[in-house]
């Protein structure tokens, strides 16, 4: 039985528009609850179909809107917690740092001296902080939903639906 060539084995009509990997496999939601009158701290939480959450900044975040120059990403939260020292083992990600919605993942330190906290937004286990941000913090602004993501989190499964439902959809967010 002769099989079709690879190019003939797929439906090319669906390819009219290039979709990035993040748009193809992730559902983008927005967490706006940390924003105040003084500063916009909107964050994007992208939910993979396997429930892993990718954290990045919302388009309206003060750092994004003002195109601020970032000096460094500081992952030392306090004397005890350094997010870069997170280490997990096994399928169950034993030893991962535990996060609540309000846990700080890191601080964005800008060249102008302003400092902005980045929150976990979801309760769960920290899988990793994007280490590329340490050497190149401005990826956060230049590639916000690709190489500039901030962290990956494995959400607490029984809270998964409520976490997801508490956030805004992309079209709701664009209307703000």
């Amino acid at each position: 039985m002769i099989q079709p060539k690879i190019i003939d084995s797929i439906n090319l009509h669906s390819l009219n528009k290039f979709l990035s990997v993040s748009d193809r496999y992730y559902k983008h939601k927005y967490c706006v609850k940390f924003t105040s009158k003084e500063q916009n701290l909107d964050q994007r939480v992208s939910f993979h179909t396997n429930r892993i959450c990718m954290i990045s900044l919302g388009e309206n975040h003060t750092v994004m809107k003002n195109n601020k120059k970032i000096l460094k990403i500081n992952c030392s939260i306090d004397n005890k917690i350094n997010r870069l020292l997170n280490a997990t083992s096994g399928k169950g990600k034993r030893g991962a740092q535990k996060l609540t919605e309000n846990s700080v993942l890191c601080y964005i330190e800008c060249e102008d001296g302003d400092i902005y906290p980045v929150y976990s937004c979801v309760q769960g286990k920290l899988l990793e902080i994007n280490e590329h941000l340490i050497s190149n913090p401005n990826l956060l602004i230049t590639n916000p939903v690709s190489k500039g993501y901030i962290a990956l989190i494995l959400p607490t499964l029984n809270l998964y639906e409520s976490i997801k439902n508490s956030m805004l959809d992309a079209d709701e967010y664009s209307k703000i």
Partner: protein, 483 residues
Amino acid sequence: MESKIYNYLLDVGCCKYCSLRYLQDRYVDFSNINEYIEKKKLSIIDTEPVIKQHKPNPCCLCLGLLQDSLIEDTVNRIVISEVQKYDSKVFTCSISIPSATILREHAIRLDLRQKFAEFYIDDIEEIPLNKAWKLIIKDKISEKLGINFENSDICNFSINVTMDYADNRQEVSVVKELAEKAKNGDLIGRKSILSILSNCLAHKFHDIVKAPLSIPSVYLTCKQIECKHNSIYMAGRYCKFSRELSQSPWIVDGIKAMETSVEEIIFEQIHKVFGIPQTNLKFSSSGREDCDVRCLGKGRPFYIEILDPKKTVFTYDEFRVLESSINESTLIQVRDLQSVQRSELCKIKEGEQLKTKDYLAVCVTKAAITQEQIDKINNFGEAILEQKTPIRVLHRRPLAVRKKRIFRMEARLVPDKLNLFELSLETEAGTYVKEFVHGDFGRTKPSIGDIIDDEVDIIALDVIAIHLDWPEEIIVPDRNETS
């Protein structure tokens, strides 16, 4: 002395077989003990045993297991048609004996050691009950079934007999009192009884177990006879032509998420052609492709374990019949089906870890792709990747960074498609190809995206070859090769 012991055992209520067992002679022919008894002049008075034989009691050691009536009953209960469901030309047999016999044998050992200390200088090493049973019954079963007995270490087909003893629980309950300290849970298992007895001093045993060798009021009864054949294995290669087919049943929250799978298609035909129940089949392969990936070329090596097989010999022609009925499916195709030995199966796992694979992919770029970018890929040479566990599998795999090599890559423009190119790869075993193309958010370095400095995604992937020469290729006249 042997005669003394033999007759002593008969007197306390043992059968002839058990009495002989404690003489510790490995060369007793249990299928013809009378000859041995005569030759060794074991019977003192000729008349007395004859009287005893008229009213035999259940033996106080084997509870009747070795006695003629129960042996005969057991042989009678073997259903020839059940055994003939199996194509085996040889058999072995095993016996599961109620634990009360352990206690009784322990008692007789203590007793013999005390009464015949000069004979039992070392540990008593009687012929074990199960071994004597096998020696007695094997020829009788063989005669009934017309197939030969073989020792269990080489024989794959076994007739397993389980005996029941109505008084077992009651007799064994005494071990609770023999235990060093109070123990909870199941105490009538063989292991726990043996361990309690080995730690129990003789005088304590005698204090507590008043009449360990009382004549049993009932014989053992035959509870179950079960036939069992060790697993056999068939191997082959499969191709997968569909981009909507998973390798094994895909079950989400207890519900089948896909209509069928490679495994199910193959199992259905094995069931149809050979009548083997699908629940007796287990599928393994050298890795797996995602459900949207085709597997072409000679296909992916796999094997199927057949549990408790009735039919164990498959001819060349039978395998070809199975192949053609599987190959009526348009979704998959199999080849090289054959029987394989258990010892060969490790090759498939080695293959998973050591053998390279060839892939063909169609990739899409955000901006139109140029010949210059294509050249960058083709001139890159061998790539050594640092690949973090992809996010798409990170929920079920540990987080790790693996070094993987791309031995060869070659890209080609696709005529009339500005944003597409084809990519041929030869990769080290265990490379995640999709992530090598799009980079997985910088988590695989370098990626094709890095090499051509644009966003890239993969829209189709085919496995072209899995370089594992197992199982052996079967030469079939006029087979249609797939490309």
